[in-house]
């Protein structure tokens, strides 16, 4: 690409989930002719099936467009999509770093939400020109003036010129494109300098290998260049250079200011870490671009095949999936209850759920997943420090001097009517109040420090249900802190089921123990023997329930010798048993291992 830099604009769209980011992107693509409407599947940028179902964007995409502006000049616009979910904050920050400006989309009815704020702050930190866009003005209860006030109040950005848009109907989208051209600065950089290109995303292509998405900062890269990834130290020969139209289209070279991709027969996306800098192997840059860090897993869980014989299939599936998901880490793990499996680390709960769904859906695996856990720091009496992400690995109580758990700084935005409910919830979850700020007459922003372990146990669902869906949440890691924690074991017919152990705060341990045994009593079906379920801390039993023995399960009547029906019923019953995990004499259903997640439901 040899477009003059002054004719290039690199921008992204940041928005809270559901505020219409994808719809606006579609309209922009349509108007620039990047894609004909009839070719467009609903919301093209969200191209994974799961993303479409959940209405969220997980993987970043970048599209190269040409726009004839009203001033008569032709511009190259690169739209870089950003994920809208808190789990993927780091990826957001990298895509922001690839841009000079951002459209800040705010819903004309909902106003500013927690992720609007978090992402807008990130954009400001990255020195981006922010263009406020108030979307969904076609809705009857749209209140753009109120939203403008919120933007000014909370973000301190002049919103008097905010664009009023309906991405759905197309109203105001032209003005958005003009603002991109006129307000966002062109990229700067030295095209003759040493190559520095930022990786802001990647995907795995079965023919071309891992494909890093690049934003050129200085210098140029061509087919045949020999490049080095400065973070991972990997070196390779570039076999293709291209742009996204949005399909991959080879071009001669990418230079400073351009957005595109390279292919270099890279076997693993782990070698193309988001945030890393690509440079020329023969004439390397002195320093990498700032901001590179490895994605850090926050949530861990055990993933086991339902049938032990599926272990190799699970392993293959994990190997394939991580090719496309550099944030995921996994290692083999063994459980007395569940056999051989893997402990996997995720960016957050959503990331975990999506991953599990992909394993089951795309690889047709029948899995048992254990309740999610965070990574605890264990300070032992002997001076050793250990990271524990699997509760059953926790050393005995007497060996532990103290425990630390990860905390997050959580920002919650909500109509003020729900302050009471939110405070109550946060209290139950050991939250520490930090700040409360009115962002408009009716809306409030609350800041708390919360243990991450409390956030991952259906905190978001509870927040939503207690505020009728109005509250939004964003959080960021805030370091480790001392906590009074204990390991809670579950015994089924006297034997500890390691996969059911959890780590809980001492104060909540009795309540949790009672809730957990009750929940398990409801989930474990009656069997040939009475089943006792106990919760214990160390040697002390703190709760006990029992599932009475099953006494009757018989087909008596045989209408006119209909034996086929009987046989099918028996076969069905036998199939049902396969969905259970055999533990000694007791059969435990899959759902039981996730029971701890839904303790607050009755």
């Amino acid at each position: 690409m040899t477009e003059k830099m002054e004719n290039i604009r690199n921008f992204c769209i940041i928005a809270h989930i559901d505020h219409g980011k994808s719809t606006l992107a579609d309209r922009i693509l349509e108007m620039t002719g990047a894609i004909a409407q009839r070719d467009m599947e609903q919301q093209l940028l969200d191209n994974m099936e799961l993303e479409r179902e959940r209405g969220i964007t997980i993987k970043l995409q970048a599209v190269h467009m040409t726009y004839e502006a009203q001033n008569g000049k032709s511009y190259t616009l690169n739209l870089i999509d950003t994920p809208g979910h808190v789990d993927f904050n780091y990826e957001v920050s990298r895509s922001l770093a690839a841009c000079e400006g951002a459209l800040l989309v705010v819903d004309a009815v909902q106003g500013i939400e927690a992720q609007t704020l978090a992402n807008a702050y990130l954009a400001v930190e990255n020195d981006l020109e922010l263009i406020p866009v108030i979307n969904k003005i076609d809705l009857p209860n749209a209140d753009p003036d109120n939203v403008k006030e919120q933007i000014e109040e909370v973000l301190g950005i002049d919103a008097s010129e905010a664009l009023l848009v309906s991405a759905k109907t197309g109203v105001g989208v032209e003005a958005v494109l003009e603002a991109v051209v006129n307000q966002i600065p062109p990229p700067t950089g030295d095209r003759d300098g040493r190559l520095q290109a930022l990786i802001f995303d990647s995907h795995f292509d079965s023919y071309k290998g891992a494909i890093p998405y690049l934003r050129g900062i200085n210098g140029e890269v061509r087919k045949g260049s020999n490049v080095t990834f400065m973070g991972t130290k990997k070196t390779c020969d570039v076999t293709e250079v291209g742009i996204f139209t949005p399909q991959m289209k080879p071009v001669d070279c990418l230079t400073a200011g351009d957005v595109g991709y390279i292919a270099a027969s890279i076997k693993n996306v782990k070698d193309t870490q988001v945030g890393d800098t690509v440079t020329d192997a023969d004439r390397p840059a002195v320093l990498p671009l700032p901001g590179y860090r490895r994605a850090m897993p926050m949530v861990y869980c055990g993933i086991y095949p339902m049938e032990n014989s599926d272990y190799d299939n699970l392993k293959d599936a994990l190997e394939k999936l991580v090719l496309n998901d550099s944030a995921l880490i996994y290692e083999p793990e063994t459980s007395a209850a569940l056999g051989f499996g893997f402990r996997c680390g995720f960016l957050g709960l959503l990331h975990m759920e999506i991953f599990e769904e992909r394993l089951e859906r795309e690889y047709n695996l029948d899995l048992i997943t254990t309740a999610p856990s965070v990574d605890y720091m264990v300070y032992q009496v002997n001076g050793e420090i250990q990271h524990i992400s699997n509760p059953s690995d926790m050393p005995e109580i007497q060996k532990i001097e103290r425990l630390e758990e990860p905390f997050v700084k959580a920002t919650i935005m909500s109509p003020k009517d729900y302050i009471g409910s939110i405070m109550e919830l946060v209290q139950e979850r050991r939250g520490i109040f930090k700040n409360m700020e009115y962002i408009s007459v009716t809306r409030v922003m609350l800041t708390y420090d919360l243990p991450l372990s409390e956030v991952i146990f259906d905190f978001f669902d509870q927040l939503k249900s207690r505020t009728r869906g109005y509250a939004s949440l964003d959080y960021e890691f805030a370091g480790y802190r001392d906590s009074d924690l204990v390991k809670l074991d579950v015994l089924v017919n006297g034997d500890i089921v390691d996969a059911l152990s959890i780590i809980v705060h001492k104060e909540n341990s009795y309540r949790r123990g009672r809730q957990l045994t009750e929940k398990l009593r409801k989930l474990i079906p009656r069997q040939l023997f009475e089943v006792t379920i106990q919760a214990a801390i160390g040697n002390k039993i703190i709760a006990r329930e029992s599932v009475k023995a099953l006494r009757k399960n018989v087909i008596e009547k045989c209408y006119g010798g209909d034996i086929s029906r009987k046989r099918k019923l028996l076969e069905k019953q036998k199939e049902g048993k396969k969905r259970m995990k055999q533990m000694g004499n007791v059969e435990i259903p899959q759902e039981a291992f996730m029971a701890v997640l839904r303790l607050d439901e009755s």
């Binding site: 040939l528 009757k552 018989v554 046989r567 028996l570 019953q573």
Partner: protein
């Protein structure tokens, strides 16, 4: 094929729990149906057994709605097509309210020698609630008339697990039944399909049924009480004096070939073909009229399925499974592979072995699905 089932899908009133195929048909429809049965029988003429039929079972519906003339016509057709063995068991299911002494004498004269009465309960409020058209006194009267007409092999069906039924009522029903001059009692726990009136009520929460534990107690009580009263159990739900076990139903459990005629009737042919007839009257009629088997379902059993059946069907009978014969046919590995499961079942007191026969205990009878699912 020496066992014949004939389905008679006519009823005066549909019972509230019944999901079996039955209609209140006009006389004309009934005659059309009988003609179809005869035509269907003719389709199987080539399966005629060398020594004739051993049993015929008229089930329903309410077969006692057929006139003696109808029955005579059917029996003639069956004799023509299949021949009769010397000592046969011919059963007719009857509703106690539909039979008269004259009717019973007439059908006894046709060599129908076993009567199965749908008694169900001896409390009129239960019978009424179930949508039965008879009262408890009709059961006693029907049995007495049947004896007078020359029936010495009589069954009474009883049901437990009825809405609001108490243990005392169940005990009363069992006691009243055993005091009658009958040879056979069947006990069935109420199972509701959503297609029935009661099934819908259950889904809507309008029906109070006994708890599982009470149901289990009722079934256990029946097994113990009937044994003492001279009706030992010979099958999961069937109890008989002396040698009066139902030869027809026993054939199902011994995996003998049998032919089912009529709507929704099942058959086992050639040892590996299980079929089920159409349950739509018009489809059934037109297929038979076109000299086509009126099958809605047809399943050729795999060797594995046959093995499963040979395992689970005999276990329903008190004599159990001949382990030596089974092991000889399928290899002793079959049992050694299942050792873990079997030990668990022995430990739980659900299975026993006596003189090489693998048997369900009383407790195992109540849990027979669990046992069988573990063994197949």
């Amino acid at each position: 094929m020496r066992f014949l089932y004939v389905h008679i899908p006519f009823c005066v009133e549909k019972c509230h729990y019944c999901d079996f195929v039955s209609y209140d048909a006009s006389l004309e429809q009934r005659e059309t149906y009988l003609q179809s049965l005869i035509k269907e029988a003719a389709l199987h003429r080539e399966d005629k057994p060398e020594d004739g039929l051993l049993t015929i079972y008229f089930g329903g519906g309410t077969p006692s709605l057929l006139t003696a003339a109808h029955l005579e016509m059917l029996l003639e057709a069956f004799q023509r097509n299949f021949g009769f063995a010397k000592r046969m068991e011919i059963t007719l299911e009857a509703n106690p309210e539909t039979v008269s002494l004259r009717y019973l004498k007439n059908i006894r004269g046709l060599d129908i020698n076993r009567l199965s009465l749908g008694g169900q309960a001896f409390q009129d409020h239960h019978l009424k609630a179930m949508g039965r058209i008879h009262k408890s006194e009709d059961i006693t009267a029907a049995v007495e008339m049947a004896r007078e007409a020359g029936f010495d092999n009589i069954n009474v069906d009883l049901m437990y697990g009825l809405p609001h039924q108490t243990m005392a009522e169940w005990q009363e029903s069992l006691e009243r039944a055993t005091q009658l001059p009958i040879t056979h009692i069947s006990t069935y726990g109420l199972k509701l399909s959503p297609a029935t009136l009661w099934g819908r009520w259950q889904e809507e929460g309008k029906l109070t049924l006994p708890e599982d534990d009470l149901n289990a107690d009722m079934q256990l009580y029946a097994m113990e009480y009937l044994e003492k009263a001279g009706f030992p159990r010979y099958e999961i739900a069937n109890f008989a004096k002396g040698s009066y076990a139902c030869r027809h139903n026993t054939a199902y459990w011994l995996r003998k070939d049998y032919l089912g005629l009529g709507l929704n009737a099942s058959s086992l042919l050639y040892g590996n073909l299980r079929t089920k007839n159409e349950k739509d009257f018009e489809k059934y009629r037109s297929k038979v009229a076109g000299r086509e088997y009126p099958w809605a379902e047809k399943e050729v059993l795999s060797d594995e399925q046959i093995r499963e059946e040979e395992l689970f069907l005999p276990l329903r009978l008190i004599w159990g499974l001949d382990t030596a014969a089974f092991a000889e046919k399928y290899g002793v590995e079959y049992f050694t592979q299942k050792k873990g499961q079997m030990v668990k079942l022995f430990d739980a007191g659900l299975l026993t072995v006596e003189e090489g026969q693998l048997k369900l205990t009383d407790k195992g009878v109540l849990l027979n699905n669990e046992v069988l699912a573990a063994l197949i």
